[in-house]
């Protein structure tokens, strides 16, 4: 009997957290459409999230394409289907693996950084100082970050997918003597709108989730340095779970629409 209490408590705090996160998200939309918009801070965040993640996303994407092709090649060769490598790799990367892996990488890079930054601002009273200076800290810190993450993630995913395909093309060029031109011709003939649209669509939601959870955890972090660490850590954990849930819903809806 005594053991049921922690479960009850955990369930209660889980739903309370979901409720608070939903309220936080609703406040984001409310503040997004009210003036003034902190355009300068929004641009700064786009630069921080976009430009500074390029190298990480590029390296991840390149190795992803490289390894994926190296691993698939022997099996496909065995069945005499090595000419299908560009089609298979491009569809897998663009539809599923690219967005999910890059979003997870960005959850670690962007989500944790937002959580830690806002958490430490909260602990050191910088958010209060902003409020006292006549600035709405939610608008200045949260709205700009969520919006920047929502808009930057699709761009990062497109970039990461492209670099992954370059990595894959390199393996095909070295191992299968397939020219880059032929490889990309095959890639572009294999990819259609039904691959690109759902993938790009869900990447906006991935970005929104990363920004929202990172800001929620940081903005509501409890006092003390331990709270900052917890905020940063749980931002990554919650976002990663949320990304898979969003991905499942996106795949389900895509199947429903395109059959």
């Amino acid at each position: 009997m005594a053991e049921s209490f922690p479960l009850k408590k955990n369930l209660y705090s889980f739903f309370a957290e979901i409720g608070a996160l939903s309220k936080f998200g609703a406040r984001f939309f409310k503040e997004l459409f009210s003036r003034p918009f902190e355009f300068k801070e929004f641009l700064r965040q786009c630069y921080q999230m976009g430009n500074k993640s390029l190298l990480l996303v590029g390296v991840t994407g390149f190795i992803l394409g490289l390894v994926f092709t190296l691993q698939s090649r022997p099996t496909l060769e065995e069945f005499g289907a090595s000419s299908w490598i560009p089609n298979m790799i491009s569809i897998s990367i663009v539809r599923e693996i690219g967005p999910v892996i890059i979003a997870l990488i960005c959850a670690g890079r962007i989500g944790s950084s937002i959580g830690a930054e806002l958490g430490s601002m909260k602990v050191t009273e910088q958010i209060d100082a902003m409020e006292v200076s006549g600035t709405n800290p939610f608008k200045y810190l949260v709205v700009t970050r969520i919006l920047a993450a929502t808009l930057m993630l699709p761009l990062l995913i497109i970039f990461g997918d492209f670099v992954a395909l370059i990595g894959s093309a390199l393996v095909e060029n070295i191992k299968g003597q397939v020219s880059f031109m032929l490889y990309f011709n095959q890639v572009f003939s294999a990819l259609g709108f039904r691959d690109l649209l759902p993938a790009t669509g869900k990447s906006f939601f991935f970005g929104f989730a990363i920004g929202l959870v990172g800001c929620f955890k940081g903005y509501n972090s409890s006092k003390g340095t331990a709270g900052v660490g917890r905020a940063s850590n749980s931002a990554v954990v919650y976002t990663s779970m949320l990304l898979f849930i969003i991905d499942f819903i996106a795949v389900f809806l895509t199947q429903l629409i395109y059959g």
């Binding site: 050191t124 209060d128 100082a129 600035t135």
Partner: protein, 225 residues
């Protein structure tokens, strides 16, 4: 409930010191004054305006008249000293040109003796310097009231003395009213015109430093030991 039946009045050009044990509600009180927290009941009038009835825009306008020095300085980590000082200026004086902004920033920094730090980041400054920059930021809009939250906490005695001298000179130069929360008896002795002692969420005693420090009441005497 932290504060109960709490009444307080502050006068023009007055340095009012609030002392109390940790958890006695000092910080809650000053946070209510600038609208960071809302009281459950009661009225808070700042410069004649009941802040519980103000909307966000009106509250922000009122906040331009109140400078706030946070206990840990609360300088924005990601901004230079210049940007830290420009931040409240840009919020409250939207049409100010770059030249006027620069002049005000420099003037505020000169007032705290740190003009040379203008392009440094907060993490390049010592604790005492950060506290001075935070004071410059609190002063840049030339507020009528300044609230100091434990201004000398965490500083060495020499730096603490410098901050107290700075607070005194600021009060004289800007003719501000100051509310100072402190545990530092030396700070209270030098700067206070009037003191209030908070105990159990109420203003237990008030008077000048001399009156309170010579009181026979053991609960009051405990503050000055």
């Amino acid at each position: 409930m932290v504060l109960k039946d709490f009444n307080l009045e502050m006068y023009e050009n007055e340095n009012l010191v609030l002392m109390g044990k940790s958890g006695s509600g000092k910080s809650v009180m000053i946070k209510c004054l600038v609208g960071l927290m809302e009281p459950d009941s009661g009225t808070i009038k700042v410069l004649g305006q009941d802040i519980t009835k103000l909307d966000r825009t009106q509250m922000d306008e009122l906040r331009a008249e109140i400078g706030f020095l946070f206990q840990g300085s609360a300088l924005y980590d990601s901004m230079t000293v210049r940007e830290n000082l420009e931040f409240p200026l840009r919020r409250h004086t939207k049409r100010m040109n770059i030249k006027d902004t620069d002049e005000l920033v420099l003037e505020a920094l000169e007032n705290v003796g740190l003009a040379k730090t203008i392009d440094l980041m907060p993490n390049e400054l010592s604790g005492g310097m950060q506290r001075r920059i935070a004071l410059a930021r609190a002063l840049i809009l030339k507020p009528k009231i300044i609230i100091y939250d434990e201004p000398t906490t965490g500083l060495d005695p020499i730096t603490a003395k410098e901050i107290i001298e700075l607070m005194t000179s600021v009060q004289k130069r800007y003719k501000t009213s100051s509310m100072i929360i402190t545990h530092d008896v030396d700070c209270a002795r030098v700067i206070s015109h009037r003191m209030i002692l908070l105990l159990d969420g109420t203003n237990y005693a008030q008077g000048t430093f001399e009156e309170l420090s010579t009181s026979e009441d053991p609960r009051i005497r405990a503050f000055f030991k």
